[in-house]
Amino acid sequence: MAKTKRRNVLKLAGTAAVASMGGMAGILATGRMPAFAQQRTVHWLKWVDFVPASDALLRREMLPEAEKALGIKINLETVNGNDLQPRVTAGIQSGAGPDLIMAFNNQTYLYANSVVDLTEIAESVAKQEGGMYKYARAVCSDGKMFMGMPWAVIGGMIAYRKSWFEEVGATSFPKTWVEYRDVAKKLKAKGRPIGQTLGHTFGDAPTFTYPYLWSWGGMEVDPAGKVILNSPATIESVKFMQGFWKDGCDEGGLAWDDTNNNRAFLSQTISATLNGASIYIETLRRPEQYKTEKGAPLNTDILHSPLPAGPAGQFGMHLLQSHMLMKYSKNQDPAKEFLKWIHAEKNFEKWFVSQKGFATPCTEKWEGHKVWSDDPVMAPFKVAAKLGQAPGTRRGNVPLRASSVWKTSAGWRSLSSCRRQCCSACSLPIPSSKA
């Protein structure tokens, strides 16, 4: 080991002193604070994915790649979907927290005052990928700014047991609610009810109840922002639901969250449930574990269907996820760089493929991806984002200037009273208005 001499130490110390004096003089001359070489860090908060492989892919492969490419550090934190909103509120009120936070559906409107406009990135991605679906625009943009960068749509379709439906005479999935109720009644009589989540939770409960209401002609608010939920159509829908629930459903569903119906279906206590594709994907992942009563792999007996139609038509609402860049963030530039990086086609594709169809991208280009043709059972999810609708919108229309509704006190009053009437059983607080 080289011997350290007293003379060398003095030399080094002297050099350092001179350098620092020069540095100090320089700083004083410019009148600016020194720019220390700090590691730029982006704190990304998202839900715990129902497809665990995707979170693993992000952590193991994609984020290290992004860090290398962008020269930033990315902290990925995952929490239960129901715990995202408390984190957003805490962050905004305290002015500190994650830089990028995942939002569900129109939660973006709640936080519009506290997020950074992401129009440039969103429009750029839309342009490169054949256009953005209206659903994503309605949820993420108020017409003036993108409050969140659309990430993906978790398609909500009814996963059902083909053989069990056939056993009660349903060779294809019921087209209307009345037909569905008849089939459900027969299934429940055989101990195989329909299982529908209606508990206080973010996903399956609102993605069932909103389209159900719309299919009967019910609406939350009129174009002026007035709550019109209390209508004959809504009452009809509730009356029908009471019978449907009693005759054909597992009545425990009132206490279910977004995981209960998955477990119930996989343990074969229910015959159908509105869900993302996670049930089917799980049966593909573990074919040895999940088998039918006849011993066949369960995945061979699962099909997907949209919700049935009601007197006013057939509707669908799916869990749209976006990422909000918070105004309080001190890392807005690196966060934007990261968003651009992860939405670049070659990067996003890796994540999209890992989802195996559980998530549908928000732009049209992905409709042609081989993920959808690889497995026909997943085909109905391909158009989830295309056909999905935001609360308050009607088929084929874009939502009424949501900003004008929700940024006024009248809008908030509408939200508040509407929430009291219809949304207390879910975590979707903001209905928007129809066009």
């Binding site: 408390p86 206080h200 597992d250 206490a255 209960n260 207390s424």
Partner: protein, 273 residues
Amino acid sequence: MLLGLFIAYPFFEGVKLSLSSARVGDPGHFVGLKNFHKIWNDSIFHTTMWNTFWYTGVTTVFKLALGLWLAILLNRHFRGKALVRAFILLPFIIPTVLSTFAWKWMFDPTFSVINWTLFQLGIITTRINWLGDPDLAMTSIIVINIWRGVPFFAITLLAGLQTISPELHEAAAIDGARPWQRFWHVTWPLLMPVTLVVVLFSVIQTFADFQLVYVMTGGGPANATHLFATYAYQLGIGTGLLAEGAAISLAMFPFLFIIVVVQLLYIRRVETR
């Protein structure tokens, strides 16, 4: 200084918030008592208020009765007394969220081990919808609260029992007092100050309970199990209506204040007898 920092400041901030139109990301402006007027006309708030009183009342009565019974049992001499006393404290020691998750599984609508046991014993033929039925859901959270709270009552009352001189019991026994008379005329009056303090603490904690209900039901089904704290959380945090959430939180204050004042006055009266 500390009281001011940790109690007075948050309290007055809460009052300020409840008198404003604040939403998440928007400090709002002064609106007077508008939020209180609004929640007073809110049917869910009425349900919440009733739930909170019912939940607090029923659990306190059961916790007191069972805790006292347990304390009397533990006050006897038997082998392994120290071990039993330690085990009794487990429900109180385990973090509430953790134990509540275990209960959630036990009351699971589909996979409830309670249902399974009752079914295997031939007591039921169909599943009991523990958390999906409004009344059963309330019963379920009451049961869990009692389970969690009994050890606190038992151990505190046990400490009170041990301060009562055995000579008093012996004297009463010599005078011909039966066990029940000895309890009623000797033990209970001497235990009263401790009991009142325990009840006071328990009422405050139960009235403002959050974790248990949040984990078990989230206030559901259909708002049937909301307490003040969970409903305030749903409005303030879930929908961003911070001012309304603060108003609901503060609505607890007058009730708790009256309960505390009455109990403290009673304690003082008992002590000065």
